[in-house]
């Protein structure tokens, strides 16, 4: 099979839906096999904003990848649990043979209070998943990538909130900045092994994480039931390009470039897919 990542295996966290699923499908379209991981459960602190992915969502990702005639090994696991992440990876490698691409994508989005009013639980959940979970994903996979001796590509999902301050989104913003520091350090440490490490920085992406009433209310605080139609122009006003948000496929195309050998000398870069949000 031909394709821009033909013959490669990609380990993707948060793969049940949203950007993670989109990445799995896009890479599979271009010839990759997939090791997928998702918590596939509600997280208590997130429930007030949006529901967690489900096991049915993860099964749908499996079905979509298999429909492309690619293989996928999917595991229900929490990125906060290092042993579970490691086991999911090893199970995938046992079946698919190797791992060449890592997409540390799993993340949660909490917001609504000024930083000094954020609860300790909210802070811990966001940092544990969005930062420590990314580190644990990398920690699980790096020894094997080094041992394989064939290089590799790690792509960490950051955000425009990894480049700019965002009021009332303190833990998320802190975590998304922090992964940039982790990326830069890993890029230096892993360069001699030809393992590349980069971040992607989307603006709002049309996924359940932002297309929900609670998020719309962040922009429309006086509306009891703000709608997507009401929110769209306000979202658009934060971007330079005249779009409210981007599609998961737009981020997947950037991830695909970084994952492929087309980017074999791209490391340490912050690849923004942000419609000009951070240029304003």
């Amino acid at each position: 099979m031909s394709g821009r990542v033909a013959g490669k295996v990609a380990f993707i966290t948060g793969a049940a839906r949203g950007q993670g699923r989109s990445h799995a499908v896009r890479l599979a379209q271009e010839g990759a096999d997939i090791i997928a991981l998702d918590v596939a459960a509600d997280i208590e602190s997130v429930k007030r904003i949006y529901p967690g992915a489900t096991e049915a969502d993860l099964a749908e990702t499996v079905a979509q990848v298999e429909a492309l005639d690619r293989r996928i090994v999917a595991t229900k696991a929490d990125v906060r649990d290092f042993d579970a992440v490691k086991a999911a990876l090893e199970r995938g490698v046992a079946e698919l043979g190797h791992v060449d691409i890592v997409l540390a994508n799993a993340g949660i989005f909490l917001f609504g209070e000024p930083a000094h009013e954020v609860s300790e639980t909210d802070w811990r959940d966001v940092v544990d998943i969005n930062l420590t979970g990314v580190w644990q994903t990398c920690k699980a996979v790096i020894p094997r990538m080094i041992e394989q001796g064939t290089g590799g590509s790690i792509v960490i999902t950051s955000s425009t909130a990894g480049l700019k301050g965002t009021p009332y989104v303190a833990p998320y913003t802190a975590s998304k900045h922090a992964v940039v520091g982790l990326m830069r350090t890993l890029a230096l440490e892993l360069g001699p092994h030809r393992i590349r490490v980069n971040t992607v920085h989307p603006t709002g992406v049309a996924t359940p994480m932002i297309l929900n009433e609670a998020t719309f209310r962040l922009f429309l605080p006086d509306e009891e039931h703000p709608t997507q139609e009401q929110a769209a122009p306000i979202f658009a006003s934060t971007n330079a390009l005249p779009v409210p948000w981007v599609e998961p496929a737009d981020v997947s195309n950037a991830v695909l470039f970084l994952a492929s050998d087309e980017a074999r000398y791209v490391t340490g870069t912050e690849l923004k897919v942000d419609a000009g949000y951070t240029t304003r």
Binding site: D250, N253, E262, K272, V273
Partner: protein, 269 residues
């Protein structure tokens, strides 16, 4: 198979050889037609020769061998009227313009006290004003097409203060500022503006700029500034072309205001 920039027309400056030729060929491989310009004349201030008529002819041959069309013109990016004319002639023939690759540039190496007014002027006129002229010549056609992608060639020298390259560094930083400004200004037309920042690329320009090694050796602490993170000394032009292709294509339809490093980790050291 449909190409990744099928049906688009790209204007590439400095297309006679090196990165410019590589970009023209890579875009043509993926379905684009090309409007090419190159100065084809030497600078008194630059120690290596510019591309020749034969070089530009070779770019034309390579694009046409891919069954794509190309309109190539001898034009100096410092001469706005000549650029405007070249773009207009190309659009008249090829029908539209979707992509501007503002790539033409020169480079000289010298310590700060050996930068002559002529070197300063030629470098800034070509590498900064020339990029500006290329954009201004292209933008009306991009607006007419309903949107487009501008890619300007900056450098690691557009991010770091590389020693012994002050005029080049000034121009390559300047390009970033211009692109950020136009990214905001042109977003309403769905025109995206981004820069690419290569580390050393294996081209006649890079092999032509003598003297850097001696200057580095005169101050051993300077050397690491030029080192890459990945175990590679210089890149093939095609590596940069792959990034340009991504930025030119609709795969990056919402990417604007980006400084895209293709630098083997040079700027994170």
């Amino acid at each position: 198979m449909t190409g990744r920039v099928e049906g688009k027309v790209a204007f590439v400056t400095g297309a006679g050889r090196g990165q410019g030729r590589s970009h023209a060929i890579r875009l043509a491989e993926e379905g684009a037609d090309i409007i090419a310009v190159d100065i084809l004349e030497d600078y008194a201030t630059v120690g290596y020769g510019m591309a020749t008529t034969a070089d530009l002819d070779e770019t034309v041959r390579a694009v046409e061998a891919l069954d794509r069309r190309i309109i190539a013109t001898k034009a100096d990016v410092r001469d706005f009227d000549a650029l405007k004319g070249a773009v207009e002639a190309g659009v008249a023939e090829l029908g539209r313009l979707d992509v501007v690759v503002a790539n033409a540039g020169i480079c000289t190496v010298q310590a700060w006290d050996e930068v002559t007014p002529e070197v300063w002027r030629d470098t800034l006129d070509t590498n900064l004003t020339g990029v500006w002229n290329s954009m201004v010549a292209g933008v009306p056609h991009l607006i007419a097409a309903g949107g487009g992608s501008i890619v300007a060639t900056s450098s690691t020298a557009g991010i770091k203060g590389l020693p012994y390259l002050a005029p080049y560094v000034a121009a390559k930083h300047g390009v970033v500022g211009v692109c950020r400004s136009l990214a905001n200004e042109l977003a309403r037309y769905s025109i995206r503006v981004n820069t690419v920042h290569p580390t050393g690329v294996d081209t006649p320009m890079a092999s032509g700029i003598g003297g850097l090694e001696g200057l580095i050796n005169s101050d051993p602490d300077i050397g690491p500034i030029f080192m890459n993170t990945l175990p590679v000394e210089s890149l093939d032009p095609r590596e940069i072309s792959n990034a340009v292709l991504f930025l030119a294509s609709d795969e990056s339809r919402y990417v604007t205001g980006l400084e895209f490093t293709v630098d083997a980790g040079n700027t994170i050291r």
